[in-house]
Symmetry: C2
Subunit: 145 residues, 2 copies
Amino acid sequence: MEAITHSRGDTFPIGELSRLTGVNIETIRYYERIGMLPAPPRSEGGRRVYDHHHTRVLAFIRRGRELGFTLDEIKALLALGGPERAPCGDVREIAARHLDDIRAKIADLRKLERLLGQTIDRCEGGTAPECPVLDILSPEPRRRA
Amino acid sequence: MEAITHSRGDTFPIGELSRLTGVNIETIRYYERIGMLPAPPRSEGGRRVYDHHHTRVLAFIRRGRELGFTLDEIKALLALGGPERAPCGDVREIAARHLDDIRAKIADLRKLERLLGQTIDRCEGGTAPECPVLDILSPEPRRRA
DNA sequence: CGTGCATCCTGTAGTGACTACAGGAGCAAG
DNA sequence: CTTGCTCCTGTAGTCACTACAGGATGCACG
């Protein structure tokens, strides 16, 4: 029940970084492997030693993923938001393109929702001679059989 | 410009099945490998020989994928819609669960759309001191820095 | 009958974004 | 010193494909 004491100076191991950010340990190592997250220094025993810089970057990545950005997009955003932080227009462009994708996906899903919802409702009524769900899936409307 | 003549009896090779259903050749072979599509008989030379039964099954799979069903769900639907075609309730359940998934995904995306849209708009006005898109991504609102 | 070339075959590996081990090493408390 | 947790590397699996490489087949045309 004691507070966990890290080695002095705000550094901590991977498990703590995982807890702090909500990102799976395996995923953190994966991010390092693919170059999303800078490789931290190691302890004498070879363990990764993180600090709050890593927390910030990793939380940024996590948030980006939650917002549906790909890792490549996030990598680009990280680069843009880096030390320079100059080209806000570039950032806006990535985000705007992503927003278009999201809107297209929503439109697609809405169409699906309508179709599937109506079909299931017909099924619920029990008025369908054969299963209407299978019928929207079947390419052949099996008329005159 | 002549109509392509298949060997008599409504059988055709994989390329034709691909054209008929709009499913990539590689994908058809993949479906066979994972047991989604029954393996067709082969010609003397070892080529796959399909007939309209395969067309129907493959088109069913394709439609299911377009509707966002997983291959496992489609496999289940195919089994349910098979020779027996009895338990319409089971079919409805799979579809209903899938509809729930779709609705949840739509809700998620809508939230995202709002957040991202508003943020980009703020950026467009040019009134933001630093890039607002990066700011929603950043976990630390950098107040008092 | 030969030739060219489109189509087909198998097998393997790559994609994106992880997740799940196996098999071992380190480390701190009791 | 032992227990048990955390950590390490490396590999392989997931989902639904896609993309080759390297070779065989089949068919129309000359």
